[in-house]
């Protein structure tokens, strides 16, 4: 960790790469259907002729930019640009609808930079000890982590828990459609070839979030977003003030994001949901999550960007990629001849530390670049006539969904899911629990089945599911998340009755 590595990261070439990567990543991430993984996969060949550290800086910058870019579509179109931005839609779109879209975009930028910095600093100073966390997580811990994520349904159900749970369960059933990962049984396809590949998460996200918005937009002549006349640009000062008042939320969410990022397979969507759940659980009186609460955006965006640095910890120290984009970076490193593993920090210290400093610099560059791009994205979305916006977004949903698996069937499924999501939402079954079930279902199933198999083999099923300390801690948090809102609601009712 020498000063020379920092200077190396600050070379004009590396700075240019970091800036280019952040801008390219942000633009790609803002397009629904184009994920960070796709952006990295496409640009990897460019890095083959570069020095390993420069290549890593470019890839890290694209990754961090893409995760942040997902917030634009989530806030302005209610469509997560990347799966990591799911929870950003919960408060981002309501803010945009009431005329605070510019504020929401600026808040997302500040939070993303904060999360990205904390994740990168953890990578710089704590990589070897934190990598042990990844090894401490077995299948049961993953199962309980996904159940913890699903407990967010309780707070997304708007007072109708049964409908929320039914939606979550339906989402989990959708996640089982196709070939079973563990035993290769073909499930719930009813003989249809189209369904063998299952429901793609990104296509389902686009369908369930974006299509209902389009259906609503075309039906009425109102403007798509409310615009305050006296506001000319992104409200940077106001956003900074709000972010400063929510320091604790930002830091806590960034730490959650870093820790979840370390866990292979969990990723930004889980991190964002867990951080959002925690922010909501610890909400102050008067904060209305789900109705345009700035803390909701900041929790999600700081957490999902913190997974970038967190995800690199097991990738570099253990050679285990935390997320799909990490796997691409790992592949790029192998092609460059850099061997990952516990000795990487000593044997290839120059590459690793130059890269980490480069990632920090890229995250810092995301602030001006993100605010600038955010300003133009916001202005474009609010000023573009609805008659052009709706078909343009519709076209993007088709091309974006097709691009994921090059499948027209996926596009048809996306549109049908969208119509289904719109209909059921009209009767109190919101899309968010269905999406939660769809995303967390595979993680829960894998953890559950593996844990069940190990528990049955060792004749200790109860101990396997409830006897491990990390499992117990996650279970305790889950119960608190489920019970606390009921307790607080009862106390609030009692207090109001006493006042009357």
């Amino acid at each position: 960790m020498e000063f020379g590595h920092f200077l190396s990261a600050m070379s004009p070439f590396n700075l240019a790469l970091a800036l280019f990567g952040v801008v390219a990543g942000t633009v790609v991430g803002s397009i629904p259907g184009l994920t960070a993984t796709m952006a990295l996969a496409i640009l990897v060949p460019i890095t083959f002729s570069m020095e390993p550290a420069s290549a890593l800086i470019l890839l890290g910058a694209i990754y961090t930019g893409a995760i942040y870019g997902g917030a634009y579509a989530a806030i302005l179109l209610n469509t997560p640009g990347t799966p990591s931005a799911i929870a950003t839609t919960f408060d981002g779109y309501p803010m945009a609808k009431r005329g605070d879209g510019d504020l929401a975009v600026a808040l997302a930028c500040f939070a993303s930079v904060c999360g990205g910095m904390i994740g990168a600093i953890a990578l710089l100073f704590l990589a070897p000890p934190l990598s042990k966390v990844a090894l401490a997580f077995g299948p049961i811990e993953y199962f309980w982590l996904s159940i913890f994520g699903l407990s967010l349904i309780a707070s997304l159900s708007d007072g109708n828990l049964a409908k929320g749970l039914a939606g979550g369960a339906f989402g989990m059933i959708l996640s089982t459609v196709g070939v079973a990962e563990i035993s290769a049984d073909i499930r719930l396809t009813f003989g249809s070839q189209v369904l063998i590949g299952g429901f793609g998460v990104v296509g389902a996200l686009i369908g369930l979030y974006c299509i209902p918005v389009l259906i609503d937009l075309v039906a009425v002549p109102d403007r798509h977003l409310k615009v305050e006349d006296n506001v000319k640009s992104v409200r940077i000062g106001e956003a900074f003030g709000i972010a400063m008042n929510s320091k604790f939320n930002l830091i806590r969410s960034s730490i959650i994001g870093t820790l979840v990022g370390i866990l292979p397979g969990a990723g930004g969507s889980v991190a964002g949901l867990v951080a959002y759940s925690e922010a909501k659980r610890t909400a102050k009186p008067g904060q209305k999550f789900g109705e345009g609460e700035p803390d909701g955006i900041m929790a999600t965006e700081s957490a999902n960007n913190a997974t970038v640095g967190g995800g690199f910890i097991p990738t570099l120290v253990l050679g285990i990629p935390g997320t799909p984009p990490d796997a691409i970076v790992l592949g790029a490193l192998l092609i460059q001849g850099v061997r990952t593993g516990p000795s990487m920090f000593s044997q290839s210290g120059s590459v690793v530390f130059t890269f980490i400093y480069g990632l920090i610099i890229a995250t810092v560059l995301m602030l001006p670049a993100g605010l600038l791009i955010g300003r133009y994205a916001y202005k474009s979305i609010v000023t573009i006539p609805k008659a052009v916006l709706v078909p343009a977004v519709g076209f993007m949903t088709i091309i974006g969904t097709f691009a994921i698996r090059n499948s027209i069937s996926d596009v048809v499924i996306m549109i049908c899911l969208g119509v289904f999501g719109w209909i059921v939402a009209r009767f109190g079954f919101k899309a968010s629990p269905i999406v939660l079930g769809l995303i967390l279902g595979p993680i829960a199933e894998q953890g559950f089945v593996q844990g069940w198999t190990i528990g049955a083999a060792t004749n200790n099923l109860v101990g396997m599911f409830f006897g491990r300390p990390i499992s117990q801690a996650i279970l305790a948090f889950t119960l608190i998340t489920l019970i606390l809102p009921i307790f607080l609601e009862r106390r609030r009712r009692n207090t109001s009755m006493e006042d009357e």
Binding site: I42, A169, I182, G394
Partner: protein, 152 residues
Amino acid sequence: MNTPSSSKSQSQIGSVIVSAFFVLAGIITLYDTTGYSDRDSQVFPRAVAIILIITAAIALVREFLKPTDEGGFGSGIWWRRCLLIITMLLACFAMPMVGFLPAGAIAFAGGLIAAMHDNWTKSNFVLYWGSGAVIMVAFYSLFKFLLHVPLP
């Protein structure tokens, strides 16, 4: 125009139908699991299907005992909604025959007509269709030539 009471009854009927659909989906899932060869494939969908049946049944019963007003379909022009979805689906089915760009143009045209609430003038006709063409060609080029997505 929907009166509050008709909106509430529409909402209640809709909630009951959706809840019943979820119960049915749970039963179908349970039935489907009987055909799996491996027990590992059955455990999770069965557990989730049971949860789905129970929670959807609770939602259904609750709707009878304590009807909620979720708003139902509310107001809005139906032909515009239908046009948007039908043209998007039509584009998907036309894609293998006519190629991506013409199929995308069908979806775009449908969306544009559905979302156009102002009067058509010569200038906005040229502007909207022109900008639509630019957007489609730009995204098509991005995906086809830069990202190498094998668009039909």
